[in-house]
């Protein structure tokens, strides 16, 4: 489960069920909402020097719109894709949630794609206090949808790589080959929450 940086945990997750079922919670440094991550989730993170995307001002809305155009190409002819407020949807059903972090010279646009999900896992999430307007009063199961019902996984990945390749030159890289030690003084702000922290939030929930 991923969680945004400063929101109160008690407002975002059902802490008692999370504790009971030993669900790990990660607090990430980007903004955005809380998502349930399982072994089918696909993450796409675009890390861009702002000058590499010169048509896009480094603010949330322009970046979000630009990403909507990119993914519009990915799903063209394949599904009824829409950027709805800050979400990616097929029709009016969300399948991708976004989070961004913007610094002076570069920005991250990160998407958690809902490949498949178990209804039981959605019950760990509380209804967010700031829900998008297009959600109306729908609960999770009526609001979200599974990407796997719309296309094969390999096709989504290939089309995404191609769409990104239309804007940038793309080459595959393995994580092992990235020299992490050379990044000195890096302060990790994304971290796993402790059981103690979850218990403290649980006390706040009735």
């Amino acid at each position: 489960m991923w969680n945004i940086l400063h929101r109160k945990l008690s407002e975002l997750v059902e802490t008692k069920s999370v504790l009971r079922d030993h669900i790990p919670i990660i607090r990430r440094f980007t903004g955005g909402g809380t998502v349930v991550v399982d072994n089918g989730t696909i993450f796409v993170t675009l890390i861009c020097n702002k000058d590499a995307v010169p048509n896009v001002q480094p603010f949330p809305r322009p970046i979000m719109s630009w990403s909507g155009l990119l993914y519009g190409k990915v799903f063209e002819g394949l599904a009824d894709f829409h950027l709805r407020e800050n979400d990616y949807a097929f029709g009016d059903r969300k399948f991708g949630g976004n989070a961004q972090s913007i610094t002076k010279n570069r920005w991250i646009h990160h998407t958690s794609f809902l490949w498949d999900y178990q209804v039981k896992n959605m019950s760990y999430l509380k209804l967010p206090s700031k829900a998008p307007k297009y959600r109306l009063t729908r609960d999770h199961t009526d609001f979200i949808c599974r990407m796997k019902e719309h296309m094969p996984r390999s096709e989504f990945i290939e089309r995404t790589i191609k769409a990104v390749g239309d804007e940038f030159s793309v080459s595959p890289v393995s994580l092992d080959s990235i020299d992490i030690d050379s990044v000195s003084e890096y302060v990790h702000t994304t971290r796993l929450l402790t059981e103690q922290e979850i218990r403290e939030a649980s006390i706040l929930q009735t």
């Binding site: 955005g32 949330p60 322009p62 976004n98 961004q100 804007e167």
Partner: protein, 166 residues
């Protein structure tokens, strides 16, 4: 790839409103939400922060252009008083619905005061970016750093060019 900005941003026209010696005497904003305002008497950065230097203290915040482009601010991350800031480096962040955005200090110095009101009312940055939405006050360590910042006219032009190019 051509990208259209949101209507309110593409329609942005900027004007300079002159400030009296005390900011609260002049209305900082035009009535229409389509206009970003730039205050005379402040200095600005190309990353959209402003600084007001008054004697030994400089007040820092983000501009109307910035708050308008960020959208509704839901959380503000601020440093502790007593810490220091360095020109061009981040000292805090502003969180809108889906994004955290760094705020960078226009000049270097020691933080003497932090706007605690922003903890409970982060929206002050949207409603009053030049007054109640101030973020930190510092004791500048090198006031000459102010000279390389943008004046109101230059910043206005900069914002116009940014909005026109996108």
């Amino acid at each position: 790839m051509a990208l259209r900005m949101w209507a309110s941003s593409t329609a942005n026209a900027l004007k300079i409103s002159s400030s009296a010696s005390r900011l609260h005497l002049s209305p900082p904003f035009s009535i229409s939400r389509c206009f970003s305002s730039v205050l005379d008497g402040l200095k600005y950065t190309s990353s959209h922060e402003w600084v007001k230097h008054e004697g030994s203290v400089a007040t820092i915040g983000i501009s109307d252009h910035a708050q308008d482009h960020l959208g509704e601010v839901v959380f503000v991350e601020l440093p502790e008083p007593g810490g220091s800031v360095t020109k061009g480096n981040g000292f805090g962040a502003v969180e809108s619905v889906k994004a955290t955005s760094d705020v960078n200090s226009p000049i270097s110095g020691e933080i003497v005061e932090v706007n605690d009101k922003l903890t409970g009312k982060p929206g002050l940055i949207n409603s009053s970016p030049y007054e109640d939405g101030w973020m930190i006050k510092i004791k500048p360590s090198d006031p000459s750093e102010l000279e390389s910042l943008l004046g109101a006219k230059e910043y206005t032009k900069f914002c116009e060019e940014e909005d026109a190019a996108h």
